[in-house]
């Protein structure tokens, strides 16, 4: 293949001394899970391809394990992105490598039942489990996916395992994409030891070695479409403080949207891409979640070690109409995250923070039916409309009660659901009487880290934006290759599914780039 080593992976905005004007075959917007694979496959096929990334190019040396600095550097809106009603915090990455820079490395395939439902309901025969299996296997090999050894399980994860086992509930170890992990526990702030086998470390260097060019600090602002074909895009080059320092104009016959389920939809909407059935931005799922804390009599130091290595799947099944739609995993935070999540303020809050080292925290994430919507917000940024429906709220309530039972079963002295009016319990019997009506926006801190949908794949243009090849129903040469593609929620960590779908669709993108 003739791939050569790469020294500097990306050109930074401040290194561009004039407008960025390029004539190329393909341009990929966004360099996260989906964009990195699309870029690599294009380059390996000998296509002249560039990627634009609105965030910065940061390396291991920048990842200093400081929350206040890394939130600002690596997350959209400095970690302050929320739903339009400010009720759900939406964490998403921004930078070369996208959300793979600071995700917690969990690796799971899209469940077979979900793929089969996509095939049947959306006409996606090509995503059936047996068809997609080789692509999953290739991605897992690329990213060195392996099971997290039991010996690497930290105290927080042990609490989940022990509690679930004592209750006789289904659970098991998780897989991850880490090699040489130092178990420092700072995955969510970028890995200081370069142990993440992610887009930044693995896939983008492969893309660059195969000839792709990556431009950091360049935000795509408009896709150009003429006569039903894409002709390229324009954007802005950003300086170190996000200021507009130059323009970008890229001519290309293929544009691949991989700016995430929020960013891709916002860009398509801002560009006025044909949308006769008003589909762009619809179908947003986010896996909303909330946390439950258990206070133990001994020090757990849950901030140390691999954050998530064990799952409880007792309340998760994927068949149609299932009323078991919650996934339970540990969730621990560093001091700033913990302080923000604990209810109250002042002296009582500080007293609670003194138990920091004795806390185990679990989270329940909903495999959501609610369909939110991405619309255009100020400055053409995505505005996220999403209000959980009653069924999902009930699922989350069930999940929180389950988390609390696990914590008690594992020996917690107190269990707290940190709602605005916190629910403190001293024994599991109190859970039988708990009215979970408080599980609603603004009563409970809600967080989501898995936006999906918004540019769904499907054969029917009335219910989807792109066809089974990933190409837009009405614009030749415009492809999607990120979490936007998912027709439904998947009920688990999405990165492997996104990497895999991008790989699976790549030959269609390449074929279009080669066609005249």
């Amino acid at each position: 293949m003739g791939e050569s080593p790469v020294t500097e992976l990306a050109v930074r905005g401040r290194q561009l001394h004039a407008d960025l004007v390029l004539d190329t075959e393909a341009v990929v917007v966004g360099t996260g899970a989906g964009g990195s694979i699309a870029l690599r496959e294009l380059a390996r096929a000998g296509i002249d391809a560039v990627a634009l990334e609105e965030g910065g190019y940061h390396t291991t040396a920048d990842f200093n394990q400081r929350e206040e600095r890394m939130l600002a550097l690596l997350f959209q809106e400095q970690g302050g992105r929320t739903t339009e009603d400010l009720a759900i915090r939406i964490l998403q990455g921004r930078g070369v490598g996208g959300s793979t820079i600071h995700n917690t490395n969990l690796c799971k395939r899209i469940p077979d039942a979900i793929l089969s439902a996509w095939a049947d309901d959306f006409g996606l025969g090509d995503v059936r489990p047996e068809v997609l299996a080789p692509s999953f296997a290739r991605i897992e090999a690329d990213l060195s996916v392996s099971e997290i050894p039991a010996a690497d399980r930290n105290a927080n994860n042990e609490v989940l395992r022990l509690g679930a086992e004592r209750l006789g509930w289904r659970g098991g170890p998780l897989k991850h994409n880490r090699v040489g992990c130092q178990r420092s526990g700072f995955c969510e702030l970028g890995c200081s030891y370069d142990a993440k086998q992610n887009a930044l470390k693995i896939v983008l260097p492969q893309a660059a070695a195969a000839g792709a060019r990556i431009y950091a600090d360049v935000r795509a602002t408009r896709i150009h479409v003429e006569g039903g074909r894409v002709t390229g895009l324009e954007g802005v080059v950003l300086g170190e403080n996000g200021e507009h320092i130059a323009n970008a104009r890229i001519r290309a016959k293929v544009v691949v949207l991989a700016a995430s389920a929020t960013g891709s939809a916002a860009l398509a909407l801002a560009s006025g891409v044909p949308d006769p059935h008003d589909q762009i931005g619809r179908g947003l799922h986010v896996h909303p979640g909330a946390a439950v804390a258990g206070i133990f009599d001994r020090t757990l130091a849950s901030y140390d070690g691999i954050p998530q290595s064990y799952e409880c799947t007792e309340f998760l099944s994927f068949e149609r109409g299932s009323d078991r739609r919650v996934w339970i995993v540990p969730a621990f935070a560093h001091p700033i995250g913990a302080a923000s999540a604990l209810p109250g303020f002042g002296a009582s809050h500080m007293r609670a923070m003194r138990d920091y080292g004795k806390l185990a925290v679990l989270t329940a994430l909903v495999h959501d039916e609610t369909e939110g919507r991405v619309v255009l917000g100020a400055g053409d940024r995505p505005k996220i409309r999403y209000v959980m429906n009653d069924a999902d709220r009930a699922q989350l309530g069930k999940g929180l009660v389950a988390c609390a039972r696990i914590l008690f079963a594992a020996g917690a002295r107190d269990v707290v659901i940190p709602a605005v009016f916190p629910h403190r319990m001293r024994e599991p019997g109190e859970l039988d009487r708990l009215d979970t009506g408080f599980v609603r926006p603004h009563e409970l801190p809600l967080t989501a880290v898995h936006p999906m949908g918004t540019m769904r794949m499907g054969t029917d243009p009335k219910r989807s934006v792109v066809g089974p090849t990933g190409e837009h129903h009405h614009v030749r040469g415009l492809f999607v290759a990120d979490g936007s593609l998912f027709p439904t929620s998947i009920g688990g960590p999405p990165q492997i599914g996104i990497y895999t779908l991008a790989l699976h669709l790549a030959h269609h993108i390449i074929a279009r780039a080669r066609s005249s």
């Binding site: 929350e67 560093h334 002042g346």
Partner: protein, 178 residues
């Protein structure tokens, strides 16, 4: 009087004020805030009166549980307001604007809703706590969200300081750990 104000809150008038006219209220009532000119000159996103409001809110939000313990740094020691200024400067303009409007509501409107005649920054600590609690538990969802946002910023400014980690028994990042 107080009751009718509370009803106003429930009807969302304060929420509307937050989005719409909080900045107008702030504009006409920004006198009488004293800030050291050197500090004022260094500000990037906040104006002096915002800084004073953030300082007062931070002192209550990050109030110590053992005020006599000299090892617990205060919100002033950790320069929470200075941190918030720098952080807010890089937020997208609409988010920055919403936060500044919330500060105006906190300073001028929220005390009135409890029947307190003075600005937030001139109230005794116990009344400031009442105001903050009323926002945290407000039936106006936007006000709750505003409080959550401010609380996150304050704790980001406070718990970023290694001196606070000893309160928690937290050893800090591995990187650069001696």
């Amino acid at each position: 009087m107080i009751v009718s104000r509370r009803r106003f809150m429930r009807l969302g008038i304060v929420g509307g004020l937050l989005v719409g006219t909080g900045s107008v209220v702030a504009f006409v009532r920004t006198r009488g805030y004293v800030l050291d000119p050197v500090r004022a000159g260094r500000l990037v996103a906040l104006s002096p009166w915002h800084v004073v409001v953030v300082e007062h809110a931070a002192r209550r939000i990050a109030a110590a549980d053992a005020p006599e313990d000299a090892n617990i740094p205060s919100a002033d020691d950790t320069d929470v307001a200075g941190f918030v200024d720098g952080y807010v400067a890089k937020l997208p303009a609409d988010m920055r604007r919403d936060l500044l409007r919330f500060l105006a509501v906190l300073e001028h409107v929220a005390p009135l809703a409890l029947g307190l005649g003075a600005r937030f920054s001139r109230l005794p600590a116990a009344d400031q706590d009442r105001v903050l609690t009323s926002l945290e538990q407000s039936s106006t969802l936007l006000l709750r969200a505003g409080f959550e946002g401010l609380k996150s910023l304050v704790f980001m400014g406070y718990y970023r300081d290694p001196r606070t980690w000893t309160i928690l028994g937290y050893p800090g990042p591995w990187v650069n750990r001696p």
